[in-house]
């Protein structure tokens, strides 16, 4: 039985809207907040938004996970046709793989960013980005 809460098409795009909003929130934090930590948090939020966007691009309505688990393939000889048939109901695995990579990279960048923040605090005794501008012009 199919259950429809709203018939508004915008809801279909809730993932996209949400991910764009998360990206914007992250960007806002990175561009406006004064504290270095908050900027780094903003960048992390940004990453999360993009990952969500990537995942939702790979989404398939009523799709299953792209895993040929024993439960799925039982009683079915693994011929090419069967595999094709099964795979039609699966969500796109590529964005998931990409997101996995993107998350790790985002994590690495965040780690480096935080260690830089530690260094900056060690030297400047402040986390306000407006006060950390020795290098200019």
């Amino acid at each position: 039985m199919e259950f429809k809460l709203f018939d508004l098409s915008i809801v279909e795009y809730a993932f996209f809207v949400t991910s764009v909003l998360i990206i914007l929130i992250g960007l806002y934090a990175a561009l406006v907040k004064k504290t270095l930590i908050k900027i780094v948090i903003g960048l992390s939020i940004l990453d999360a938004g993009i990952n969500l966007l990537l995942i939702s691009i790979g989404y398939l309505k009523a799709g299953t996970a792209p895993i040929f688990s024993p439960a799925l393939v039982k009683n079915m000889p693994l011929t090419l046709e069967n595999i094709k048939k099964l795979s039609e109901g699966m969500v796109d695995p590529v964005p998931q793989a990409l997101v996995l990579t993107a998350i790790v990279i985002g994590f690495g960048v965040t780690a480096v960013a935080l260690s830089l923040v530690i260094r900056l605090y060690r030297h400047h005794h402040t986390l306000n980005i407006d006060e950390i501008k020795n290098l200019k012009w």
Partner: protein
């Protein structure tokens, strides 16, 4: 299989993982191993380059899945040329930093790992034929670059690095967005495949993806409003790393941007856009350099300006223009590296790296000063040094396309360049030396590295034919989009387990 392009990535990675282990056994190996790796890769790239120019592009498939399913590396005359250049510069920078500053063992491990990865990442950006893989390599390069920028323990280096990281994160955001947009339309990530199917994309997707790519890669390529991080990072990074930035990393950024604009999409107006953005970058950077008080910062601005020039040359879009652009990239890599390497010895004693503190230093550092002078003269395009030929090819390319305005602009910018380089030179050679200054003599290996670069400048200057053949092949291979697509997509049947 004697030489496979994948070795350019695999061997340095293996070496990078090995370095910490080897360090437990023999400490010196930490410094030696990267050099051996780079030397081998240099040999490999030279042989492969020779092969590629004569027999055509090598497409290396990873994990046995033919494109577009697997990731592939493309060693075409263009990518091969850039790879060779990067490995060569990397090797020279390794020679220079072999006994770099007598850093202790723990630091040396990190330094050499990061340096090796900086080079490998850049080579990967150039070689790969897959946009997401390119993104990964961009991140490898960026993270090494952040760490190396902050390598000195002063407070300013951390600041520079943080700025770089902020802008770099934005860059990776835009790249991922662009990749997401492309994937949502075409379901593929292979560059050749995208190029072949680009006409299937809805135009608004195509243009938005292109804009995101321009912004993201423009940050790496240092085009004007996106390059705020660059002068800080160049100036605060250790000297050899500044050289690596201008000789290796930017080149990879520009390559990626040009590849996207020339090969991936066929959007009208990209050439004009490149010209305009290049001109703005060029002018603003050169203007900022004139009144600069810090030597390395001045070199950084000059470097940005030169990249603007390269982008203008690409924007001309003819084969001559691309040839000029590649020639400029080659010369800029060599010359600017020499300037960074020698310049960092000239201001070694100055805490602020001020230009005003190099007065009369030629008496103490004759060879370094001479090499710096050679570099300065070469970079403003005085014959018969290397810079002249690239500037000349740029001018003829512009003249052929009737872009007289560009000629005038390029030359007037060269005048500005001349002013600030000669101001420094005059100070080095003809100002009375300040007495209390204790200069640092360059080590033997630093001299060797700088001497090699100087020699390259002279060789290219007096015998430009030594490189023009490769450059012509490279420029043809960049412009021949159909051949690129065909080369990649026709690679082999499925190689299966």
């Amino acid at each position: 299989m004697v030489g496979s392009p994948v070795l350019f990535i695999a061997i340095p990675l293996l070496a990078a993982f090995l370095i910490p282990l080897l360090g437990f056994v023999w400490k010196e190996s930490v410094r030696i191993l990267p050099g051996l790796v780079l030397l081998y890769l240099l040999y490999l790239s030279l042989t492969l380059m020779e092969q590629v120019v004569h027999t055509g592009t090598i497409v290396e498939v990873i994990a046995g899945w033919a494109p577009p399913w697997g990731i592939n590396l493309v060693f075409s005359p263009l990518t091969g040329l850039l790879t060779t250049l990067m490995i060569l510069m990397g090797f020279i920078i390794w020679i220079y930093s072999y006994r770099f500053k007598n850093i202790d063992f723990q630091e040396a491990v990190k330094y050499f790992i990061l340096l090796l990865m900086l080079i490998t990442g850049s080579v990967g950006i150039v070689l790969t034929g897959d946009i997401f893989n390119q993104f990964v390599f961009i991140e490898i390069t960026s993270i090494s670059a952040y760490a190396l920028t902050a390598f000195y323990k002063g407070r300013d280096s951390a600041e520079a690095s943080f700025k770089y990281l902020m802008i770099g994160s934005l860059s990776s955001m835009f790249l991922l967005l662009a990749i997401a947009l492309i994937y949502s339309q075409l379901g593929t990530l292979n560059m050749a495949d995208i190029a072949a199917k680009a006409h299937l994309m809805k135009p608004e997707f195509k243009i938005l993806a292109l804009i995101f790519f321009i912004t993201g890669l423009g940050i790496e390529a240092e085009i004007f409003p996106l390059n705020g991080w660059a002068p800080d990072a160049y100036a605060q990074a250790p000297g050899p790393i500044g050289a690596a930035f201008s000789g290796i990393v930017v080149k990879a950024g520009v390559y990626a941007m040009i590849r996207v604009m020339f090969t991936l999409f066929d959007v009208a107006g990209t050439h004009q856009f490149l010209i305009v953005i290049g001109i703005i970058t060029l002018i603003i950077a050169e203007m900022s350099a004139v009144r600069q008080e810090h030597l390395k910062r001045m070199l950084a601005y000059s470097s940005i300006g030169q990249m603007g020039l390269v982008i203008v040359a690409f924007g001309i879009g003819t084969e001559e223009g691309v040839f000029a652009a590649l020639f400029l990239m080659l010369n800029h890599a060599i010359i600017k590296s020499l300037l960074f390497l020698s310049g960092s010895y000239l201001v070694y004693h100055s805490t602020g790296k001020y230009i005003s503190e190099v007065d009369g230093i030629a008496r103490n550092l004759p060879i370094t000063s001479f090499l710096f002078a050679l570099g300065s003269i070469a970079i403003v395009g005085m014959p018969p040094f290397a810079g002249f030929w690239s500037k000349w090819s740029m001018l003829t390319a512009a003249a052929h396309s009737n872009l007289i305005l560009i000629i005038g602009l390029v030359l007037s910018v060269s005048l500005i360049e001349l002013v600030y380089y000669f101001r420094v030179l005059n100070r080095i050679y003809f100002f009375p030396k300040k007495k209390e200054v204790v200069v640092k003599k360059p080590t033997i290996n630093a001299l060797l590295a700088m001497g090699l670069l100087g020699l390259l400048i002279l060789i290219i200057g007096f015998y430009p034919d030594s490189v023009t053949g490769y450059l012509h092949a490279a420029s043809q291979s960049l412009l021949d989009k159909g051949k690129y697509i065909h080369d990649v997509l026709s690679t082999g049947q499925l190689l299966l387990p």
